[in-house]
Symmetry: C2
Subunit: 280 residues, 2 copies
């Protein structure tokens, strides 16, 4: 998807919401900078659960909330476990309060636009501004030099195949959820789904530190349990999530180790042992 | 309705249409001028019938059409006779062709914005730029000095009462469709509906020069016909139309005279005799 298509799709998500569409398009058009990425209606983690921020600039970890006179609260759908929810606890949050005076509203938006431009300038001066490039979004080759990546790097792959090949495989296609890490044979690469599916009902705790795995298929349960207990390998974990446009990706969430003490035939517990994975 | 509400509502009409919303909001936000009025999806008369232009700047009689790769053609609904359709034959039409290159698209929009700004400047220099003022839109007092108005003036009233009082009555409310013109007792003021309603099915020809009036109520038909033939007064005609946000107004369409030669009990014909009405 190129920038144009991406932008149109992001903005289309604000349609049916008059003020939100107006404020989001005004910020975007006055910002007028194709190097800056934005997302609309981004799910974020809050102490009280999940929330949506109306506009998110990931390069600056800046969220905008548009406070409308009659603001609708969004229902988080049942498939929330599939969502790409951002941990935004240390992110900045700006509010644009919509009032019944368009001149004042325009001034508030202008101030915000000036602020975002100044952020870009400051990031550039510090050499930490990365231009938005949709084609390189899933290109993690720059991380190879570093020799590892961690949760902060927001590493994700579009497909399981891409992830496997990054870790030393040579697949043309691959749909397996558990596979050896060629870079470290003592680990598995794991691509779990955190929503109920055919054989499994897996869940990640809201703090991201524990995964509970349930096997719904009685024919497989014992065999699976025996395999884990016999050879409890650490799992480099990339859950399947959907970005806010509905595109699937596999996003790194840490390395998890089977917790045999707390596991039983009904459910297997995995605890996060590190947020970093070596890629050499 | 203030400007903010008006703007949000006009833009909301472009929602669900990704590219149209993007281009319209970009033109509007970059134009950044609250003295300029715009309308979205304005019905215009074409030689072949009616059409919608995506964006219309009435102060400059400039229409913008956004040519999308997959442009949907709008179905004109059955209630088209109630629409405020603009005769746009001598208006300017600009096309913004949406292509799959956002940098080029942005340049095309920028050129258009520069053009509109230059129009405003030129109009101002000639002293013919009237700032957009929603509160004065239906205030026709400036026409009183001129002593008359014509089709070009786009004169319209929000209510029948306002129109009657402009022509010398002193009503607090009024719903009558035919009433004496106090400024010229040889004329009637007429507020017809050009869509089928309880007793009537009236229609205006597409060139705006002839009205055909049919009475659907057999009990009233003869009496109505006798009244017209006995006293065929000219009619200062303000059909009921809806603007593109659905608000009713009564818009001047000329003075019509009963054409007794061509009329009969089934239908009465009125022909436009002048496009101008005296208001002194």
């Amino acid at each position: 998807m190129n920038k144009q298509e991406y932008i149109i799709r992001q903005i289309a998500r604000t349609n049916k919401k008059g003020f939100e569409n107006y404020v989001v398009t005004r910020i975007w058009h006055l910002l007028d900078d194709l190097d800056i990425k934005f997302m609309t209606q981004q799910y974020v983690k809050r102490p009280s659960g999940f929330a949506l921020t109306d506009l998110y600039f990931p390069q600056f970890q800046l969220h905008i909330e548009i406070d409308e006179p009659f603001h609708k609260h969004y229902k988080v759908e049942d498939d929330e476990r599939e969502l790409d929810i951002i941990n935004a606890i240390d992110h900045e949050l700006e509010r644009i309060k919509v009032i019944d005076d368009i001149v004042v509203l325009h001034k508030r938006i202008e101030r915000l636009v000036v602020k975002i431009k100044s952020y870009k300038k400051a990031h550039k001066q510090k050499g930490k501004f990365k231009e938005w490039n949709p084609e390189k979004e899933f290109d993690l080759s720059h991380l190879k030099k570093k020799g590892s990546f961690n949760l902060e790097d927001n590493a994700a792959f579009r497909t399981i195949k891409d992830a496997c090949n990054f870790f030393g495989h040579h697949y043309k296609s691959c749909q397996i959820a558990l596979i050896t890490n060629k870079l470290n044979p003592k680990q598995h690469l794991w691509f779990p789904k955190f929503y109920k599916n055919q054989d499994w009902d897996n869940q990640m705790s809201s703090d991201g530190k524990r995964i509970t795995e349930k096997c719904n298929n009685p024919d497989k349960r014992q065999k699976h349990f025996d395999r884990i207990t016999k050879k409890p390998l650490d799992r480099v974990t990339f859950p399947r999530v959907k970005d806010n446009l509905g595109f699937v990706m596999y996003k790194f969430k840490g390395i998890f180790r089977p917790n045999l003490t707390e596991s039983n035939l009904d459910q297997i517990i995995y605890d996060r042992i590190t947020c970093e994975v070596k890629i050499v």
